[in-house]
Symmetry: C2
Subunit: 336 residues, 2 copies
């Protein structure tokens, strides 16, 4: 097996820089787009043969050094009883979101067998994969935000209001989600996931002080628990430059860096015993080729030792991205 | 005149911490809300008596230490020939945005007399005000984004694509906007504005490397030109934690800090000869009182010297905010 990615996660020096892309499974690839004409996103995630096929496509087509399970962060809230629809060009929509603390009581405890299909997908994938498989979960803040807002937002007004006005209920919800995600990720490791990533996609809307008080204790709990799984742990969030000290303080092996950050500065903030992953702006793949490679070169030069560094975007691949450019980028990073 | 705000802008020690709030004029106040039932936003900004009334309301009602001209950042693109509508609960909408480089040729050079109404508003205000009056403009990146996207966005896909694919056209547009904003702000000072703020509300979507290449040269030009006006200059942007070094490198007197940032860390990044302004999350005003004042105390304690510090939010006042809470907050900051 190609274990370059796993060695970089463990902060080791690697012969070349390993690469994978957030959202590499799905979104921009032709095989996935063809499947999406027949099936909706949730059906794809819940059908092991199809989910495995989607997860494998970027390995075969792009030559990346790690696979990521094709799933959706809303599978966990769905398993806890939330009625979630994934609406095209909108995102997750919940008609009956959490409005008051008693709504939390209506959540079901997470039962691992409710996502048996994920375990089956992972087992299928492990039969074929020659690169490590990453399992993942949304982090509690991001999940709670979706569950409270009911739809994507630019302001997180309902979420912050709930958090500020009902701190006890907030912490109760975060604890429930933290415990559920530990169990959810444990099941993925049992089935064969070889690394785990927590996606806190929305946490960057918070002030550092709010992060410390309302989020960090739950992330600390999660990473301390996941240590027992004995696989590399990745903590990724977007828009985390203002709270990177706190974000990078959890017991993770790898810190995923948002595209806005200057990688050299971020590297200096992340503790030296942790690896880093990131952080090209995925929008660069839609623009001028010379500029793209100028930025790639600068990023690679900021990590001259090839030690504990995983090349990735600072956010998910854009759906409009040309996969031949992604493939060329993987080759370039491997060769430089 | 109460010049506490101006002295803080000049990085001096003040007897108490001066306060004003971004978006204090308009949005949440009852007088403004009553006017909005009769007039649309652009009509209010273009009618000097009404705009002056809106600008004065927070001074009388809240007791803040500075007034800001009631205007809209889209007045400058409008003056340059863009057809802009301000749509309720959406924001600025442009049906015919900039799509290709030749669309830039269709822009009219900015002519100061096209915004004579702003000068009249400023003159009216200066007759009544006992606190300094801040003039402002949107910064070129934020204006260009609106002009290219045609509506508020969460991704800035069109903007980045234009910038990455057409760098020459991009710089031409930025230069046009930079020159226009210098002229636009000069007219405000001539009429009586006593400080100037550049709002780069959207620039935080950029990687630090992109900021350095595509934005910073134009901001450097603007601040170097505005130095001649001999009034304090404030540079504000949201989501700037990843590029604060560059953002704070321009020839401004005051750097406005986004709410996500930890103020003590931001203060350490901003050069010591510059003042700072910010950075409470305005959403805190919608939540629990004890938490709000815990955060206010922490912010004030991070600036123990009361030197070169202006209390503000890290973003505009939320429309839902109760003005009696704003008034109490102003008094509290003055007393502590």
């Amino acid at each position: 097996m190609n274990d370059t990615f796993l060695r970089a996660c463990r902060n080791e020096v690697t012969e070349y820089t390993p690469v994978w892309f957030m959202r590499q499974a799905g979104r921009s690839l032709p095989g996935y787009r063809a499947l999406r004409k027949k099936y909706d996103v949730l059906t794809l995630t819940q059908t092991p043969e199809l989910a495995a096929q989607v997860s494998l496509e970027p390995i075969e087509r792009l030559g990346v050094d790690a696979a990521i399970l094709f799933a959706d962060i809303m599978l966990l809230p769905i398993a806890m009883g939330m009625d979630v629809k994934i609406v095209d060009s909108v995102g997750p929509v919940i008609d009956d979101p959490i409005n008051v603390p008693t709504d939390i009581d209506a959540l079901r405890p997470f039962e691992p067998q409710s996502v048996d299909f994920l375990q089956q997908t992972i087992r299928l994938l492990r039969q074929d994969l020659k690169v490590p498989l990453i399992g993942f979960s949304g982090a509690p803040f991001t999940l709670a935000s979706y569950m409270i807002e009911g739809k994507p937002t630019r302001q997180w007004l309902k979420t912050k209001r709930f958090m500020y006005e009902q701190p006890e209920a907030w912490h109760r919800l975060m604890k429930l989600l933290a415990e559920a995600s530990v169990l959810y990720l444990h099941q993925q490791v049992v089935a064969g996931a070889q690394a785990l990533q927590l996606f806190d996609s929305w946490v960057g809307c918070l002030a550092a002080s709010d992060y410390r008080e309302f989020v960090l204790p739950h992330m600390t709990y999660i990473f301390d628990e996941l240590r027992k799984e004995n696989v590399p742990l990745i903590h990724f969030g977007t828009d985390t430059s203002g709270l990177l000290q706190e974000f990078a303080s959890v017991n993770a092996d790898v810190i995923g860096i948002d595209w806005r950050a200057d990688m050299a500065r971020a590297r200096a903030i992340v503790p030296a015993d942790k690896a880093v992953q990131g952080n090209l702006d995925p929008m660069l793949l839609l623009g001028n080729e010379a500029l793209l490679y100028r930025r790639v070169d600068a990023l690679l030069q900021s990590m001259p030792e090839k030690k504990g560094y995983i090349f990735n975007f600072g956010h998910g691949v854009q759906p409009e991205t040309d996969d031949t450019r992604l493939k060329a980028l993987v080759e370039y990073v491997h060769d430089n």
